[in-house]
C-alpha cells in the first residue's frame, strides 16, 4: 500500500529531539541492508501513542518513560546521550572569570533559585549587573534534567518550580539561544548543538557554555574541555561531565522489539554508536551500552 515508495519494514515515530540522529541511522542502515524505514516526528507522546496502538514498531523518546507508559507495556532501551550545558551571552560581564574558574553546581543552583542575583556576587569583581535567568517551558526533558542536576543528588526541582523562579521561559532551544544571544546578563541552559557550530564544532555564535567546576576547587585542567564540541563530547562520554544534566534518549517498543526493528536497534547499539558524535550527540558510555545491549537481548 504505497503511493510513492515501497512500504516500510520499520516504522518509527516520536520526539523531535532524537529524530535527526535516528534519521541518519536509518538512512545508513537502509543503505546497508535494504530495510525500508518510515520515520515521523510529532513528539515523544505521539510516538508512544502510535507504538501502543500498534501503528509503529519503534518510538523515539526524548525523555524518560513515565510509569503510566511502562504500565501499558512500553519497553525502552537507551540509544544516546543528549547534553545540556549552562549558557551565557558572549559579552557576559564576567565571562573571563567564568571561563577561568567555572561555576560549581551550588553556584548554578543559587543562580537558578535566585539566591544570587548579581553577577558581581559570583566573582570578586566590581561588576554590578543583575542576573537574568531564562528557563525552558513545560514538557522539556532537558529542563527536567537540569532541575535534577541543580538540586544535587537525591533531590530535584520540578520544572514548575524552576519556571516560577525564572525571569522568562522560552519554548524550545532555539528560542532560548536567541534570548541569551540578545541579553548580556542572561543565563540559561542549552543543548550543545545550540552552543557549538555544527560544522566546525567551534564556539562561534553569541552563546558560550558555562564550564562546570565539579570538585568545587576551581577549574582544573581536567575539567576544562569547553573549547570545542569534540572535547566536550569526549568528556561527556568519559563521564567527566556529569549526568544529569546530560541525559539519555530512548528507543522504545511495545513489549519487546521484533524482526527488522530488533535488528535495527541492535545495530544502533553496536555499529550505530560510532556515528553519534559526528551529529552532535553523545554515544552511550561503554558499561551503559553493555547494559542496554543485555536489556535488549533479555527483552521486557
Amino acid at each position: 500500500t504505497s503511493l510513492l515508495g515501497e512500504s516500510a519494514d520499520v516504522r518509527i515515530s516520536g520526539g523531535v529531539g532524537p529524530l535527526p540522529m535516528v534519521q541518519v541511522w536509518a538512512d545508513m542502515y537502509e543503505e546497508a541492508t535494504d530495510t525500508v524505514f518510515d520515520i515521523s516526528g510529532g513528539g515523544t507522546g505521539v510516538g508512544v501513542n502510535d507504538l501502543l496502538n500498534g501503528q509503529v514498531d519503534v518510538a523515539m523518546m526524548g525523555r524518560d518513560p513515565e510509569e503510566d507508559e511502562i504500565d501499558q507495556g512500553l519497553f525502552a532501551v537507551p540509544m544516546l546521550i543528549d547534553t545540556v550545558v549552562g549558557t551565557v551571552n558572549v559579552d557576559n560581564p564576567v565571562l573571563d572569570e567564568l571561563q577561568e574558574n567555572g561555576l560549581s553546581r551550588q553556584d548554578l543552583e543559587d543562580i537558578f533559585t535566585r539566591e544570587i542575583t548579581n553577577w558581581g556576587e559570583l566573582v570578586d569583581d566590581d561588576v554590578d549587573e543583575e542576573i537574568v535567568v531564562y528557563g525552558r517551558s513545560d514538557t522539556s526533558a532537558a529542563y527536567k534534567q537540569w532541575g535534577d542536576f541543580l538540586a544535587g543528588e537525591d533531590d530535584y526541582y520540578t520544572e514548575n518550580e524552576l519556571e516560577n523562579l525564572a525571569d522568562e521561559n522560552h519554548n524550545g532551544d532555539q528560542a532560548v539561544a536567541e534570548a541569551i544571544g540578545r541579553n548580556e546578563n542572561a543565563v540559561s541552559l542549552n543543548n550543545i548543538n545550540y552552543v557549538y557550530e555544527l560544522e566546525s564544532g567551534e564556539l562561534e555564535g553569541d552563546v558560550r557554555p558555562i564550564p562546570l567546576d565539579i570538585d568545587g576547587e576551581g577549574l582544573s585542567e581536567e575539567e576544562d574541555f569547553y573549547e570545542t564540541r569534540d572535547e566536550f563530547l569526549a568528556a561527556v562520554e568519559e563521564g567527566t561531565y556529569p549526568a544529569p544534566p546530560a541525559r539519555e534518549m530512548y528507543l522504545a517498543s511495545d513489549g519487546g522489539f521484533e524482526g527488522d526493528a530488533a535488528d535495527f536497534v541492535e545495530w544502533v547499539l553496536t555499529d550505530g554508536q560510532e556515528h553519534v558524535r559526528d551529529n552532535g550527540y553523545v554515544p552511550l558510555e561503554d558499561d551503559r551500552l553493555e547494559e542496554a545491549q543485555n536489556n535488549l537481548e533479555a527483552g521486557p
Binding site: 523531535v16 508512544v48 517551558s137
Partner: protein, 312 residues
C-alpha cells in the same frame, strides 16, 4: 411510422425515467450533505466531550478552571494561566487592531477614490490571504528583535521579545485585513442618501462618518470585529511561535505565557501518551468550541439588538 413513434416515445419515457431517478438519487445525496454540517458539529462536540470525561471525572470543572498550577507530569491540570493568557492576547490584539482596522476601512470606503482605492483594497486582500505561519516567521526576525531590543527596554522591561505583547502585535497584523474588508463592505453598502442627509444639514465629513455612517454600518462592523476576535482567540501557530510557552500567570504584557491553543500545541505531542494529560488537552479543544458557540450566540443577539437600535 407508427412503430417509430412508439420507440421514440418509449425511449423518451426511459430517458425521463433516468432523469427522475437522477433527481431522486441526487436529492438523497443533497439531503445528506445538508445534514452534514449539523452532524459534523454534533460529532465534534461529542467526540471531544467523550474524550474529556476522564479528566472531568477526576477533577471538578471549577478545580481545573480556577487552578493556576499546570504540571501534567504530576497530574496537576490548572487551566487558569492559559485562559488568562488567551484573554490577555485577545484583548491586547483587539485594542491594537480594531481602531486601525476601522480607520483603514473608513479610508477605503469614504476617502479613497479610483486607482488608489483599487490598489489599497487589493493589497489588503493579499494581506488577508497570507498564511499566518509566514507572519510568525517574519515576526521572528522583525518583531521579536524590535520588541526585545527597543520597545521593551524603552518601557523599562527586560523582556527578550517573545511573549504576549509580541503575539498580540502580530495577531493584530493578521486579523486587521479581515476586519477591514468586512467593515468596508458594510460601509459601502450604505445608501448615499445617508451621506447626503447628514452633509446636507451641514455636518462635516468626520461628523457624518462618526455619528451616522459608523452607526448605520454598526452591525456589519460589529460582525467584522467579532470575526477578528474569533480568529485571534483561536489563533494557534503565531502564538505557538512567539509566545514563549510558559504556563504561568503572566505578570506583564511583555512576559511570556500560554494560550489555550498553544497549550495543545506545546504539550500534546510530548505527553499525549499519558491518558489523563491527553484528556486534559482534548478538554481544551472542547472549551474552545463551547466558547466559540456561546460567543456566536450572544453575538447574534447583540447584533439583532444593534440592528434594531441603529436602523436607518
Amino acid at each position: 411510422m407508427e412503430g417509430s413513434t412508439d420507440t421514440a416515445a418509449s425511449e423518451g419515457r426511459s430517458r425521463l425515467g433516468r432523469r427522475l431517478l437522477t433527481e431522486r438519487l441526487s436529492s438523497y445525496w443533497l439531503q445528506g450533505a445538508g445534514y452534514f454540517a449539523i452532524a459534523l458539529f454534533a460529532f465534534i462536540v461529542l467526540a471531544l466531550l467523550y474524550q474529556s470525561l476522564p479528566l472531568l471525572s477526576e477533577y471538578s470543572l471549577v478545580q481545573v478552571l480556577a487552578s493556576s498550577n499546570w504540571n501534567p507530569a504530576e497530574n496537576e491540570f490548572g487551566f487558569l494561566p492559559a485562559i488568562v493568557g488567551t484573554i490577555y492576547v485577545t484583548a491586547l490584539t483587539m485594542v491594537m487592531g480594531t481602531p486601525i482596522a476601522i480607520l483603514a476601512a473608513i479610508y477605503i470606503a469614504e476617502y479613497a477614490e479610483g486607482r488608489t482605492k483599487t490598489l489599497v483594497s487589493s493589497f489588503i486582500d493579499v494581506l488577508a490571504a497570507i498564511p499566518s505561519v509566514i507572519f510568525g516567521l517574519v515576526a521572528l526576525i522583525v518583531v521579536v528583535p524590535f520588541v526585545g531590543d527597543y520597545l521593551a527596554p524603552a518601557l523599562g522591561s527586560g523582556a527578550t521579545g517573545t511573549g504576549i505583547f509580541t503575539v498580540s502585535l502580530v495577531m493584530a497584523i493578521v486579523v486587521t485585513p479581515f476586519m477591514i474588508s468586512l467593515a468596508v463592505e458594510s460601509l459601502e453598502a450604505l445608501p448615499d442618501e445617508l451621506r447626503e442627509s447628514s452633509l446636507g444639514v451641514g455636518a462635516t465629513k468626520w461628523e457624518t462618518i462618526r455619528i451616522v455612517l459608523l452607526r448605520a454600518a454598526g452591525p456589519g462592523i460589529f460582525s467584522a470585529v467579532l470575526l477578528g476576535f474569533g480568529r485571534v482567540f483561536g489563533a494557534t501557530i503565531v502564538p505557538a511561535m512567539l509566545i514563549g510557552g510558559q504556563t504561568q500567570l503572566p505578570s506583564s504584557p511583555f512576559s511570556t505565557g500560554q494560550t489555550l491553543p498553544t497549550l495543545i500545541v506545546n504539550d500534546f505531542g510530548e505527553l499525549m501518551s499519558i491518558p489523563l494529560t491527553q484528556s486534559a488537552l482534548i478538554f481544551v479543544g472542547l472549551m474552545l468550541v463551547v466558547i466559540v458557540w456561546l460567543f456566536n450566540f450572544s453575538a447574534m443577539l447583540l447584533r439583532r439588538w444593534l440592528q434594531q437600535r441603529w436602523q436607518y
